[in-house]
Structures are given as C-alpha cells and as structure tokens.
C-alpha cells in the first residue's frame, strides 16, 4: 500500500545547499503536495537536535515514511535509518535525496536551475518512498571460526592475530610447506632479515596457539552456505609416511634419497625425487613422498618400507566457519623462451632465481661452476606492458633488485652491477637503498619500452646493447657474466579455481577484485569473504601483511558478536508471472536462484542469504517476474515521473533585510545555536570555554561557531591572554 503520511526534511547544510537552492520555497511547495504531512527546511538535517525533532514529528504526526533531502546517501543513510528505527517506523521507509553533491554544488553557477532540479529530485524521492516497503534485516548466527586460505607470510600473520582475537582459525595451505615465496627470497628489504627466519618465527608462533589448526596439502574443494555459516570442504593430500614412523629415521631416509643439490636453483625441483621438501629448512619439517616414484623404485621401498604408508588416502574435511580470508598470493612472471635470451642461454636467469644464488653462495659468487664478476639487471620484465597483458607495475621489484645489488657488494667483493631500467620506483624509505646503491658505484642505464635493450647471447658472454635515455639515447654496449631479468608479479595460475569456489570477482589485471580500492579495500562482493595480500594485486611483504591483518580485523568485527544483520536488498520472484525459463539462474553468478515447484508449476526461488541484490537476473526475465527490493518497477518508474514534475518555482528575490541576517533568524537552526547565543549574551568566550560550559565537545562547538560566524551571528573578539584561542561575541 502506498505511504500516505510522509515527512519531508530539506537541509540547508549551513549554506552548502541553501546558498544556491531555494530550500524555503521548495519546502512550502512540497507541503502542499498530496500525502505530505510535514515539510520542513532545516539548517542541519543531521544535527542531533533535528534528529530529535524528526523523531517527535514521526511519533506525533504518525508519519509512515520520511524523505531527507540533503547530502549524498553515502554519508548519512545510516544516520536517518537510525532515526526511523528510534521513532518506531521501518528503516526502509526512508529515502535519501542527494541535493548537495548532485545539485547545489554541481549547479552552483545556476541557482534557479538548481532549485528546479532539486524540486524534481525531491519529488522523485517522495514518489519512491510512497512505494517503499517495510523490510526486515536478515539476522544470521555466526560461527566464531575463520578459514584462511594460503599460509604465506600474510596468511600466517593474519591467522595469528585472528586467533589472538578469540577466533578459531583453520589455516589451509595447498602446498605441503608453509611460507609461499618468502623462504626462497633470501634476505629481505628493508631489514635484511632472512625470509626463512621470518617464516620459521611465524610457524613456531602458530604451533603454540591451540586455536589455530594448520592443514598442509589442503585443496579447497567446495564452499557452501553464506556469511556467518560457511561450510568449507577441504581435501587433504597424504604425505604417504606412516603415522608410527620414527621422525629421525624419516630424516635419515630423506638424506639418503635426496642429497642436497650443488645447484641451489634446482633445490625445489621435486621432479626427480622420491621424497622432497621445498627447501632444506621447510616447515612443517616432514618431507613428502612421491608415491608413484616410490612404487617404481622397488629396492628403495623394500629397504625403508616401515616408514611409508602407500595406502593413505585423500581425506575430505568439512569445516564450519563464519568467514573466509583469502591470502593465496601471486606467481612470479615467467619469461617466455627467448625473452631477453631466457632459456636460450643459461646465463640469463630471473631475479627470484638470482636471489637464491646470492643466498646460497658465501665468499664468492659462483654460478654453474664459474665465478661471476658482473651482473646486468633488466627491469620491468613482464610488467608495465603498454600493449601486453600486464599493464601494471609490481611495486616491489625495483627495491628488491637494488637491495639484492647492495647485498652483492656487501657479500662478494668486486662484483659490478648494471641496472638497465625504465623508471626507478623505490618509494618511501626504500629510496635510501637507491641512494646507497648509486654510492656503491652501480651503473644505471635508462631505456624506454619502445626501445628495449638487446641481449645477445651468441658470444662467450652475454652482450647487452641499450639506448641510454640519460645520455641522449647514446647506444651503450657491454659484456656481462650474468643477465638477471627483474620479473614482476602476476596473478596465480590457479586463481580461477578459488575464484569460482568462493565467487570472488577477478579484475582485468587477473588479480582478485576488492569492492573498492580505497573504501572497501579487503572486502569482496561476497559478504563474509575477504581478500588480503598479493592475491589482490602486487604488494611487498609489509603491504601484504597490512592488508591481510586488515582482513582479519574486519572479519573479527563481523563475527565476534555471534549474530550479524544482512540488508534485505535481494531479488524477489513474482510467482504468478514466473514461467521458469531458467535464464535468471543462468546469469546469477552466486547460485542464488533455483527452480522449485509451486502450485503445480516450476518457478524460480531466490536464496536470500546468498543473493547479492545486484539485479542482473531482473532484466533477463522475459515475463518481468523479478524485482529487487528497494529497486522495484514502481519505485524506479515513479522516480522517473517525479523528475519530470513541474512546479511554479519563482526566482528568489533578495529582501532589503540582509540575506545573512535572514538566514540567521531562521527558526530551524540547531539548538546548540540557542545555547551559544544565550551563553555569549553580554560576554566574550573562547571555544574551549564555551565547550566546557555547555558540555559539548569542542569540535561540535567549533563547527557551529564557524557557521554562526559565516552568518554574522557571532564575530571574533581578539585573542586570549595566551594568544592560543580567539574570543567570540555576539554580533550586534
């Protein structure tokens, strides 16, 4: 039923609206409209005093809906929904009309047109609210448990903090060892701490926490349910080691079958091993058995068979959690064969490979049995491609390279480093590393994407030719022992697996997409599913940990109370009109629609807990049987009609009485003004004094006093004795 007792509040916003829009005239015009019980222009709609007045109006006049025409709905929707709740009407019987950002400010050059537009906007809001329905938030119970997918540094750190906040954490790692890329990076900027040490510290902390359960070899299989109550199905791959085997014997056998490789770059190469670890100190400190290789090597199996259990099966676990945090990280860009000579010459390697090399050597830098005395780093490989797929910058690679170069000088004497770069982006404190590298004698040569360096590997040593833009594009050629390609970060190859299970949108850069980079940086469109770390875009370790911790904090805020309220803005099916063609279910990316039998026919049914209210299903329905709550045909179409409403709006005339004085004389200014005016009668006071005497916070007094000053109600009256604050007095 249409609402018939509507209250309309039109805000002056100090003067932000009323300086351009004739709100007083609009208020009077709207008062005469059908169904409008109250129409007021108020100085600050959001002020406490006005909120109290609104509650009084709603209760005394038995209003059934309210419209507030003021600023953007992004700012005060919750304020006025709360007013509605406190007044005893449904919070969804309120409509916010934006007459500031999208009217008075946007059209401050044409006040009369702004007033005409504001009338249309308010009429649209009135029409919309007249069709508004009382909706109830969906209350959902939440499990105080979190699944964190990915046990890299970001995931482990988030697990620790989430557990400390009182949640049970299931930390799921697809690999058999924790830490992701970090243990393989050697020393890390800016502290110089070793990646392995960082991972070991985090792992040891996790081991001591009873409310963190770590699963390695854990594949996310399926996630059902919704925020507060997800069921996460995980498949755990076996290590094929007997549960009763002596750990010391396992390590002895592991050493027997897997002597350390002389080539540090090959350590992770598990292809040729019966038992393997991703690096010698990898954690958990239990190797993994390649069961096929074990079974094909009968002699080895027979010799040590008491430590193996080849009959172990995949285990399927079901975990109940309230929320999920995804910290699956990234892949390093893998250059294509021939890209700067990669894979065509063994003297061309990537930065992650080079870091392993630097980490593994102690006194002299040896590669393939030969000493290395010069290294050329080529930057931005696989990133910042104007015409390629990876248009973005990976943020951390400039600093990682320069930090590695400094290590070269500190660890191995006499190694020369050439940096063939496009731009150096050692932002923040990392700039100091760039300065240090320059002081150590590193040579920087700048190229542009259109003229990349040429790596010629046909000779004994790689020959690099580059047009140096720092010396008027002079072509410079030099030999080097090793070429290091500074490869950036790319989205994980298996990203779509997790994305399809959790319904996380993927951006054009192929990383996971948050809702808003600034305002909702770790939230996804799936309520209860958060993303953190480098799975959402290139980040260094500090930034990854920051975003994962932010996700952990958001999750705690969500699940700690035990219940959460979801907005009821979801799709609804008109059962009479629906003929179940299935198109709505086809386009729904959240599996929120399924077919059910109703009165002898098949119709669509919406799961309110999983529906996101995006409305994608509505236009594809040929029988127009789908509507989204708050965005119904009646609401939208009546808004369109409202925009086109005409009224007899007259140009505002300026009276002989001062414009400012008239404004100040308005009856609707906040009660705080009355208090200030009474207090200042016959005396001058500073803001802290007024604040103390009236019992309001000083920022509230400052805000109102500045507006009163603007409208010449008060004026400054000199500085106090300490010259710290201005006195204010009433303006006569």
């Amino acid at each position: 039923m249409k609402k018939q007792r509507i209250g309309v509040y039109i805000c002056h916003c100090g003067g932000n609206i009323s300086d351009y829009v004739d709100v007083e005239q609009l208020s009077k015009l709207i008062q005469a409209e059908e169904g409008i019980i109250i129409s007021k222009d108020v100085m600050f709609a959001c002020a406490d005093s006005n909120q109290k007045d609104m509650i009084q109006d709603i209760q005394e006049q038995k209003l059934d809906a309210i419209v507030v025409a003021s600023c953007s709905p992004k700012l005060h929707t919750h304020t006025f929904r709360n007013v509605a709740i406190r007044a005893g009407i449904n919070q969804y019987n309120y409509t916010q009309v934006n007459i500031r950002e999208q009217c008075s400010w946007a059209h401050s050059d044409t006040p009369m047109d702004a007033t005409i537009k504001a009338y249309g906007l308010i009429r649209a809001g009135m029409n919309r609210v007249s069709y508004s329905e009382a909706l109830e938030n969906v209350e959902i119970k939440t499990h105080r448990a979190v699944a964190i997918v990915g046990a890299g540094v970001a995931g482990m750190r988030a697990a620790i903090d989430s557990a400390r906040m009182g949640n049970h954490v299931y930390l799921l790692e697809k690999d058999f060892f924790v830490g992701g890329h970090v243990p393989h990076l050697g020393k890390l900027f800016p502290t110089g701490e070793d990646g392995k040490e960082v991972v070991t510290k985090l792992y040891n902390t996790i081991r001591q926490m009873p409310n963190v359960t770590l699963f390695t070899g854990a594949h996310l299989e399926k996630v059902t349910g919704s925020v507060g109550n997800f069921t996460v199905e995980v498949k755990i791959s076996p290590r094929y080691l007997s549960a009763n085997a002596d750990p010391q014997k396992i390590h002895r056998v592991f050493s027997d079958c897997c002597p350390e490789s002389s080539n540090p770059l090959l350590y992770k190469d598990k292809e040729h091993r019966i038992m393997y670890k991703s690096y010698p100190e990898a954690l958990p400190d239990i190797p993994v058995v390649d069961v096929e290789r074990l079974q094909s090597n009968v002699a080895f199996y027979e010799k040590y068979k008491d430590i193996f259990d080849v009959n172990q099966q995949l285990q399927l676990l079901k975990l109940n959690v309230g929320s999920v945090l995804v910290t699956t990280g990234f892949d390093f860009y893998q250059p294509t064969e021939g890209e700067y000579g990669y894979k065509q010459s063994d003297k061309v390697i990537t930065l992650p490979e080079f870091k392993k090399l630097v980490d593994a050597n102690s006194d002299q830098l040896i590669y393939n049995g030969k000493p290395i005395s010069s290294v050329a780093f080529i930057y931005c490989v696989g990133n910042r491609q104007a015409k390629g797929e990876n248009k973005y910058c990976s943020r951390q690679c400039c600093t990682a390279t320069i930090h590695t170069s400094i290590q070269l000088h500190e660890k191995f004497k006499g190694v020369k480093a050439y940096h063939v770069y496009r731009d150096i982006r050692t932002y923040g404190k990392q700039e100091l590393l760039y300065r240090k590298s320059s002081q150590l004698g590193d040579i920087y040569l700048k190229f542009e994407e259109k003229e990349p360096p040429i790596v010629d590997c046909s000779g004994k040593q790689p020959l690099i030719k580059v047009k140096d833009y720092l010396t008027s594009k002079k072509e410079i050629s030099f030999d080097t022992d090793l070429v290091v390609l500074v490869t950036g970060m790319v989205a994980r190859e298996d990203r779509t697996e997790i994305a399809s299970i959790l319904k996380i949108p993927i951006g054009s850069d192929k990383f996971y997409n948050e809702i808003h980079p600034k305002l909702k940086p770790v939230e996804t469109v799936i309520t209860g599913v958060y993303i953190g770390g480098a799975c959402q875009g290139p980040k260094n370790i500090s930034e990854s940990v920051q975003s994962a911790l932010s996700g952990a904090a958001k999750i705690n805020a969500l699940i700690k109370r035990g219940t959460i309220a979801l907005e009821p803005i979801v799709a609804r099916i008109n059962a009479d009109a629906c003929v179940w063609c299935g198109k709505c279910a086809e386009v729904c990316e959240y599996d929120a629609i399924k077919s059910v039998e109703f009165n002898g026919k098949q119709i669509a049914e919406v799961n309110g807990a999983t529906c996101k209210g995006c409305g994608i299903c509505a236009p594809v329905c040929q029988s127009d049987a789908i509507e989204i709550a708050q965005y119904t045909n009646n609401e939208i179409e009546s808004m369109i009609d409202g925009f086109m409403s005409k009224a007899d709006i007259k140009e505002k005339t300026v009276d002989a009485e001062s414009h400012e004085e008239k404004k100040a004389g308005m009856k609707e200014y906040p009660h705080v003004w009355n208090q200030i005016v009474t207090l200042l009668d016959g005396q001058k006071l500073t803001i802290p004094q007024i604040s103390e005497q009236l019992g309001h916070e000083s920022n509230v007094i400052t805000y109102h006093l500045m507006t009163m000053n603007k409208y010449s109600v008060v004026e400054p009256a000199g500085l106090d004795d300490d010259e710290a604050y201005f006195y204010y007095k009433l303006k006569k």
Partner: protein, 142 residues
C-alpha cells in the same frame, strides 16, 4: 524551441559503489554540468530494465546515459556484456517506438571519474541537441 536554448534532459543510471561516487565528486569539486541531468543510482548497471529506459524516454527525457562500472564491477566480470545486452534490447524497443537509438549511451565511469562524467554529459548533450527534443519523436508517432 531554438537549438541554443535547448538543454536536453538526461537520465543517468549510475551504480551505488563506483560511478555514483564519481558523479558526487564532480559536485564536490564544483565541476559544473547541465542541471537537466538527473541520476538514479542502482547496485549494478546489469540490473537496469529496458522498460525503465522506455519509461524515461516516453516521459520526456531526451536521452538515457548508463554510467557503468565496466571491469571494476564487483558483482560480475560480465557486467559490461550484460549491460550491453540491455542497451541492445532497449534500442530494439526504441526503434519499434520510432525513437532514435542514439538517445541511449553507455560509458564506464570510476569512483573518481568527475571530469570524464562531466565531459560525457557535455558530449551527450551535444548529440541530443542535434537530434532535437524527444517530443519530436515520441509525439510524432501518435
């Protein structure tokens, strides 16, 4: 009605999380655009019904502009594709009703795209001014 004075009425469908904040920002920075532009914000541009577009044109809006999220849409990676289908469907209805399909336009707008929004409004106003008021088409069929 002379062309100079004609200020086409444009209905913009924006999105709550991305393009509407971009439009707000134009106001915040007082970058002016035509006061004949009215905005309805929705969760996602893929949820616009062609009947709403037709309603706007039949009620006197000279053009409809869809400020979509493009690749930034947090609901669907196929948002641009879905929105485009809605435009195609709407244009079919427009043709059936003798309305020039140029009266609908779409562009992706980000949450800080204040200048691009104002520029789109300027360009679309020019196109609509050349086409003339909607009444010349809607009413001519009657």
């Amino acid at each position: 009605m002379s062309t100079e004075k004609f200020s086409p009425k444009i209905l913009v469908f924006s999105t709550d999380k991305i393009s509407d904040p971009g439009i707000d920002q134009a106001g915040l920075r007082k970058i002016h655009y035509s006061p004949s532009v009215y905005v309805i914000s929705l969760p996602c541009s893929s949820g616009i019904k062609p009947r709403w577009i037709m309603r706007a044109l039949q009620k006197g809006f000279d053009g409809v502009f869809i400020a979509a999220d493009g690749h930034e849409c947090s609901y669907s990676s196929k948002c641009a594709e879905h929105t485009n289908t809605i435009i195609v469907e709407s244009q079919k209805l427009m043709k059936e009703n003798n309305i020039n399909p140029k009266r609908i336009r779409m562009a992706a707008l980000c949450s800080v795209c204040a200048e691009p929004f104002v520029s789109h409004m300027g360009n679309f106003s020019k196109i609509l001014s050349e086409l003339g008021g909607i009444d010349t088409e809607v009413y001519s069929q009657k």
